[in-house]
Symmetry: D2
Subunit: 364 residues, 4 copies
């Protein structure tokens, strides 16, 4: 009997369960493989008592339809920075990675499949360097990883944001209002850009293109002059004005979860008012609604492809690598190639050209 | 040729277009009736140049599927309190109701159908007392009117809030979090109550049942002790702690649109933390997403029933009355019976009993 | 310890799981009650080995969101007509009701909650007359029961049918086609009538109003003459031409499941062609898609109300009665009042008037 | 003033309106360009009186959200085979292509953008060879074109089919049934394959992999033996048994619209019964529901990219070429490369491997 442990780390993302199910169903086709899950990323291994879950065909039945992850997740700590309370009440961190690797050996774990974002992949690389048989599955709802054409969860987030715009358009038109929708995207504006095109927004503000508040006001005013006061402004949470500090630069330690949701939408409305733009403006912040819910077919399929491939990489002993999608193939790339190779919106790229082609303004 | 003018007032609400379409299609079955719409409630009549829209079968084709209102709406002013800028730059209001009635006569309008909320119905009653042939169609997304069993838009808002809970449940479970969802309901907690039952929330806070923050914390903690840290708290924007001031009491002049969205959710999380509740908590505010989008079949049907009945009341000369639904009949009631007769959640009623029956806590 | 057994019978219907969950959660608030479910209606009790499922808070968590029934269902047989294979290979039936009651006593079952349609309620009445402590919960997706204002599942079916029309409208318009949509409704046309209004259909054919094929063609042709060839025809599966035999009269034994799906839509298109109507016509049959999927908020709430009430009726010993909804109260009515008291569409009622008011033709 | 004519041909497909809107909005950024649409593909040009529609920013507002095509479509005839009734009552065809080109010159049309499927592109190539300034935009809901990575409409069709499976799964499980879902795919099984993976089907039958009915029965029986009788079988309309005739081979002239919907699903159930498979089986045919409704964000974006690019190709005079997507770029390819270069499911490809990896059986 060989044993594979799965862990899901970082913010939850539609498709995680489909990856888990695919690993389990693929493993069931081989003899003598058992899949277990560590509860809340690697924390389950390090907790006392150990928190793991047996993942068999029964326990994964139908879970590809559900959002979230049945084995839980966390975006704090990890084996290299396990939080401990100091004597003075402050919090510190200790490295428990060696202990974790010993625990995995003790548990008879032959290989680990780690599904997670940039932070998780870095941890995986370090664990691999310490000798752990580990394989990575990328998870970033923002689609901000250049090693893979697409990541699961992204299309679901775009669809949810687009449906939100569809809802806001009618209320904006009825009240002749400017509605500002804040979506995810701390460093990369892909969700905002895609949703702005799909929803037919008038303005789209993303981290990759610093905006000029006067230009934004000018675009919105030009509509008033044409008799159409209503407009939809889609803004990525990491967008910033020209000369302003990107949220992502404020602190490298700050993850999505610690950002003040609604901050940029609120600031934008405030700034527009302060330069004399008088339209009736309202903010909507999608927040956690973008992460939840049943994944779109697209994301279920991509996640299933990733899960099947991940287990096959275990069979082949392709450790130290991460699953990736290069249309139309599922491939694997070494961790070190995948990490620190972000995928930002190219201001000169085809997608921004398309957006400008249908009149979307980036406040440049 | 006889002419009927339609106006839609107050916040937009799924189903408004279905009412308009039904009036137009019913009128098309009679000879020599023309329907026109005043742009942005009665403002269109009073503006110079007059802003009206001809509503024929062509212009209403397919609009029952769309949210919002094709003739626009506003929740400011009205003929009895038309906003004017004073010499000192402050804003005042003048009564232009007589002028409006004269304008309607001049335009050859034989009857008016006014679709709107409590404020609109009060205006209608006053216009009726001044001799205008006017009929009311109730519009309150909050379902807070006792004269009618249900109002259109409510089921759509409940469905949207329920789907939001469905999305939040998986993310709450994956991260072991308490998620607070703020929904509409300044005076009446119907949307929160229905969504809490439909979504399977753990806690529901509504204006009709002032909450004790310690009791809310106790309920949430009891789940931690059972090993389930995650929970969904649904809170109506008008909910208030015991002894606190209801938002609705703070100012009678304050409409939805002027309330600070997210206020109560934010306060609740803050208050829970301040009494030592340490769970990972996040807020989500639905806001304008509840108003927009395609109305559910239920609301399209009710709105269509209201529209057909409203035109038939014109044919019968039943002025000074408002359409209402008393299962399974569409009836009419005099304005004075309908106004100031709100429909609040009964803390001892069957719906609250159902909620408590499935373990929902009201923080009492 | 007291024990309540739940059974779900007949065709599956969105909301069944919400009833089960509500019974379990309500029972958990009392001391010493255990809920068990019989697999596939009463069959689970009579099978060897007995097939039951323990229903505790863990096993019902989150099931209100899912369609179907976690304890399975069947629409064949039952304790009074258990199918047996005769020596000659034909099928007969035996009465195993006394045996079932003895088995329930042996299992220590104190009360039974039977969730099911007309057939199930008749079985419940007979079991009650034999001394069983039994309570009924009505289930009919067709809403064809006069004892209750509404039944769960109906609004979900209407919504699914309406969304189908929304999809068909654009394709009908693009191709200038007549699209015929067949929906459920063997005896009662409620789903067809509601969906036709909500979707904005041109023609609606229901069992309660026999149609004249010439009149249907005339209506469709009148649109061609006005330049709009496209049209949506919604037809209930039990609709029949004037003078024709209603499906429901063909055999009392025939349930939904045995009807030939698509029969009436196909016949209608054939008959229209045979009288010389030359438009491009296509059929769509919703079939099983109407039963499945997550119940709408409306149905989840009604089902939850029914479940809580059913358990409270057990506490009160109100056996021989069925839960019902009389707006805005949840009440109970004796089986004998509920059975054989169908709720048909009234051709002179308010809902048909509304439909005709927006120009829907019934082929009269 | 320069004039571009748009035509949409073949079966309607979610995203057509988004292409039209994008062309119009992109053209509005250049001076002196006018866009017009020919009603029902090229038929509008050849009819008397000519049927065209002016496409300006007003007429395309919000249409990207709607299914269908505002300028109508047809999948019959075309300029090279215009249907004419012979003296003996039979139908023949005449070539009116030269006449159409002259008419376009007369109308002052400088360039044509033809959005359509394989048939339309062949017509475009022939018109280009006759000297017409024509650009192609591919439209195939089946994604069966190798010149482009993806075509719009496909993801929407997959999502609709997946949601249908989600609905069928609960009803299949509740009744312990085998449910057969027939989806589009006459020559290529992409929709069936994607939906089967996304929905978690047990069996998937596609044209590219002829099935053995005994193998299908064996797979379904193996589940019965494990105690799970329920199963979902997804079958593409063009699937065929080993040794059977593919629908696509029966007649090259037969388009989707002429195929008997439900044929293969019905045959499959019949064949399974005839070889002694005794499970309770039901068929569902998605039919026209797959084409309609609001396009997913993915398809709206791809369609918008195609539309913007198409107009830019007009600016560049890139006639005789078709827009295509090669991730992540929008490119153009000559007609002759695009035509007759279909994109079939590779039975040895990564997607089929993924499907087999999660246990989906192809009846091989």
């Amino acid at each position: 009997m060989k044993r594979v442990l799965i862990a899901t780390g970082g913010g939850d993302c539609p498709g995680l369960n489909a990856v888990i199910r695919a690993v389990v169903k693929r493993a069931a086709q081989e003899e003598d493989w058992e899949i277990i899950g560590s509860i809340q990323s690697f924390d389950g291994i390090l907790r006392e008592p150990t928190e793991i879950m047996v993942l068999d065909e029964h326990s994964v039945r139908g879970i590809h339809v559900d959002g979230g992850t049945i084995i839980g997740t966390t975006n704090k700590g990890g084996p290299f920075a396990w939080p401990v309370k100091n004597a003075d009440g402050t919090w510190g961190a200790v490295d428990r990675s060696d202990e974790m690797i010993r625990k995995l050996q003790y548990m008879g774990v032959d290989a680990v499949i780690s599904i997670g974002g940039d932070g998780s992949q870095k941890i995986s690389q370090k664990l691999f360097e310490k000798g752990l048989n580990i394989i990575g599955v990328p998870k970033t709802i923002d689609n901000d990883l250049s090693a893979t054409d697409f990541t699961f969860g992204f299309q679901t987030a775009v669809q949810i944001a687009t449906e939100a715009i569809d809802k806001l358009v009618t209320t904006a038109a009825s009240h002749n209002r400017v509605l500002v929708l804040e979506v995810m995207g701390r460093n990369a504006g892909w969700i905002a850009l895609h949703a702005a095109i799909a929803g037919g927004a008038e303005v789209c503000l993303i981290p990759e293109i610093p905006y000029d508040i006067e230009k934004v006001a000018k675009k919105l005013k030009s509509r008033y002059n044409k008799g159409k006061g209503n407009a939809i402004v889609v803004v990525a949470e990491g967008a910033a004005p020209k000369g302003g500090t990107l949220l992502s630069e404020k602190s490298d330690e700050v993850g999505y979860e610690n950002l003040r949701l609604g901050g940029i939408a609120h600031q934008l409305v405030h700034d527009l008012k302060s330069i004399g733009f008088e339209a009736d403006m309202r903010e909507t912040v999608l927040g956690h609604l973008q992460r939840g819910g049943s994944p779109m077919a697209y994301d279920r399929i991509l996640a299933t492809q990733f899960g099947v491939k991940a287990f096959e990489m275990v069979l082949e002993g392709k450790y130290g690598e991460m699953v990736a999608y290069r249309h139309p193939h599922i491939i694997s790339v070494p961790f070190h190639e995948a990490i620190d190779n972000p995928n930002f919106v190219d201001p000169e790229g085809d997608m921004v050209k398309t957006a400008k082609g249908v009149g979307i303004d980036f406040g440049e």
